[in-house]
């Protein structure tokens, strides 16, 4: 049998479309460095919002940090919060608009350093919204300073000889910490560096929004371990490999709490 003679131009037509950037991402060029996971994380959140048909009811909160301009890229109603305060804003909105779908998008400095109190108390009160936590172990926007999640021995511009935990304290596993609180309903740690991981993370975000929609009674917390190739001073591909080798052993991927119950790892 002879193979049908088909050219690229035959394939490229609307009826054959399988993947296109969602219109819920604006056409603005992302302010992120090449290969940075923020762009992928933004996009899959917007894909879920679109697929779950909740564009008209979703309000997002942008943090201070690299993703301070998230509201420029996500084509929905957005608020920009003071550093670390996104969970407080989200509480204010969700409590007064209980039917809206609310999420915060926060980096490690925002969520696990300056905003620790807001994070923990929103989790502990069981606020019914979603926190998306991007953990890249560094302060990207201000030029690669040490973050609360910087690994032991890891270099940054304020730990130039590596993080000395005796001197600088330990990295904070805030995701494990919030999983201990009775107010969290779903806590998971994911990544977006491979197609399979992106698909998993997207499912996690969908689960989180479904929980919120069904008022499952508790906060949904999705950590995304991500790269910061500029901060880490590596090429994007090397940074992803470094992340797999160094970040994942310390911040293992997977569900930590499902349906309000801690996942038994044994």
């Amino acid at each position: 049998m002879k193979e049908e003679n088909i050219t690229t131009t035959d394939i490229i037509s609307d009826e054959n479309l399988v993947y296109k950037k969602t219109d819920l991402m604006t056409d603005k060029t992302l302010s992120y460095c090449p290969g940075c996971g923020h762009g992928t994380a933004h996009r899959i959140i917007m894909e879920v919002v679109e697929e779950m048909d909740m564009t008209e009811d979703t309000i997002g909160i942008a943090p201070v940090g690299c993703s301070v301009l998230a509201y420029e890229f996500m084509n929905i109603d957005m608020q920009q919060a003071a550093h670390g305060r996104a969970p407080a804003l989200a509480t204010g909105i969700k409590r007064t608009w209980p039917d809206k779908m609310i999420f915060t998008y926060q980096g490690d400095g925002d969520l696990a350093a300056i905003g620790t109190a807001e994070t923990i108390h929103a989790c502990n009160r069981g606020e019914n919204f979603l926190i998306v936590f991007i953990n890249n172990g560094i302060y990207g926007m201000t030029g690669g300073q040490m973050a609360p999640t910087t690994l032991p021995g890891m270099k940054s511009s304020t730990s130039p000889y590596g993080r000395d935990v005796k001197l600088m304290g330990n990295p904070l596993k805030i995701t494990e910490l919030v999983a201990e609180l009775p107010g969290t309903y779903y806590v998971t740690r994911q990544a977006v560096h491979t197609p399979a991981n992106v698909r998993k993370t997207k499912r996690a975000i969908k689960t989180a929004f479904k929980n919120q929609m069904e008022n499952k009674g508790g906060l949904n917390f999705v950590e995304i371990v991500s790269n910061c190739n500029s901060g880490w001073k590596m090429s994007p591909v090397d940074a992803n490999n470094w992340m797999v080798e160094n970040m994942f052993p310390f911040y293992p991927l997977g569900d930590i709490k499902l349906d309000g119950e801690k996942v038994n790892k044994e």
Partner: protein, 359 residues
């Protein structure tokens, strides 16, 4: 006539908020204003009107809950006292920058630092001159009675939404704690979701049938940030033009003038009477709005006056605005007490005689 009740100032604020159709109160306890949240939680406003009352983990969280809800078009308020208000200043600056309406009550106590829990007026600078960072202003209303504590909730929200700005009620421990008769307005219903979407088309209520709304105080482009600041300044000029409020007491033929706001003005009224009995022609001007300040009124009175004594429970803060208005044309002196101590009418008259009449 509305319902009459005997209430503390802090309770009157809570009751007035429920009746004014306020959507949410977020706060954190601190003396001398914890009765506000205590009253609100006891009243079950969630059953009376659907109003949300939440005790936050800090003043910082509370003001940022206010930011979130206000950014989504809701009528929201918070309250605190001096050290707590300092913590709220970040959020207030962000709200001024993002042009969000809200009402913040400060029941001022003695400072600096943790200070005392007694009444004070030492937060005038913080309220009127900024407090938070950046070129911004809040409208500042100074209630002098329990009645005004109640009334200014509605006034505050009217102004906050009219100008899309935070409004501060600058009270103190005297007004917050004292009991007086108060006439309460009849309850008005909270805005419906449809009304909010219509009234506050700028708010993040979900992108429905319009382009997305963004609430932010960030602009990385200096020229558009400057434009935004010019717009804020134009708004503040309009507020100065239209919203000055004050009260006069025996000002018509006064040769000397007390200027005092809030609880000080009540003591000053008695001082005016004593001074008159002693043969001095003294009047009292009570600024009700501290920003905008009744500068023009003071300027109109200069020709008839021999001197002004400002009376503040502080080292003298409002006096700077009085002096700016007077431009050195007549003597302006300050008399005050600090740290939570309140002056007596007799002390004031003595200060008038020594500092102004004899000075």
């Amino acid at each position: 006539m509305g319902e009459l009740r005997l209430m503390k100032g802090n309770e009157a604020i809570g009751e007035a908020a429920i009746r004014a159709g306020v959507d949410a109160y977020f706060g954190y306890p601190i003396t001398p204003q914890s009765e506000v949240i205590e009253y609100l939680t006891a009243e079950k406003p969630e059953e009376r009107t659907g109003m949300v009352v939440l005790q936050a983990e800090s003043e910082i969280a509370a003001i940022n809950m206010v930011y979130g809800a206000a950014g989504s078009g809701k009528k929201v308020m918070t309250s605190s006292s001096s050290p707590g208000i300092s913590l709220k200043m970040e959020g207030i600056s962000y709200m001024a920058g993002a042009e969000l309406p809200c009402v913040v009550l400060n029941v001022v106590r003695g400072g600096p630092g943790l200070g005392t829990i007694q009444p004070s007026q030492a937060d005038y600078f913080q309220a009127v001159k900024g407090g938070g960072h950046g070129d911004y202003k809040m409208i500042v209303l100074a209630p002098a009675s329990v009645q005004e504590m109640a009334d200014f909730v509605q006034t505050g929200f009217d102004l906050a939404f009219k100008y899309k700005t935070p409004v501060m009620l600058l009270s103190d421990g005297v007004i917050g704690q004292m009991m007086e008769k108060v006439e309460l307005n009849d309850a008005v219903p909270r805005w419906t979701e449809e009304e909010i979407v219509e009234k506050s088309s700028w708010a993040t209520t979900g992108k429905k049938g319009r382009e997305r709304n963004i609430i932010t105080s960030l602009d990385l482009d200096p020229s558009s940030q400057e434009k935004h600041n010019q717009k804020l300044q134009a708004k503040y000029r309009e507020i100065i033009e239209k919203e000055v409020r004050f009260e006069e007491f025996q000002c018509d033929d006064a040769e000397y003038l007390f200027i005092a706001y809030g609880s000080s003005s009540r003591i000053a009224q008695k001082a005016v009477k004593i001074a008159c009995e002693r043969g001095h022609k003294v009047g009292l001007l009570r600024p009700i709005t501290l920003f905008p300040f009744p500068e023009k009124k003071i300027q109109q009175m200069i020709a008839q006056l021999k001197g002004i004594l400002t009376l503040e429970l502080s080292a003298g803060q409002m006096i700077e605005d009085v002096r700016l208005a007077v431009e050195g044309k007549i003597p302006v002196k300050h008399y005050g007490r600090m740290g939570g101590i309140i002056f007596t009418p007799a002390e004031i008259v003595e200060a008038l005689e020594q500092k102004i009449i004899g000075g």
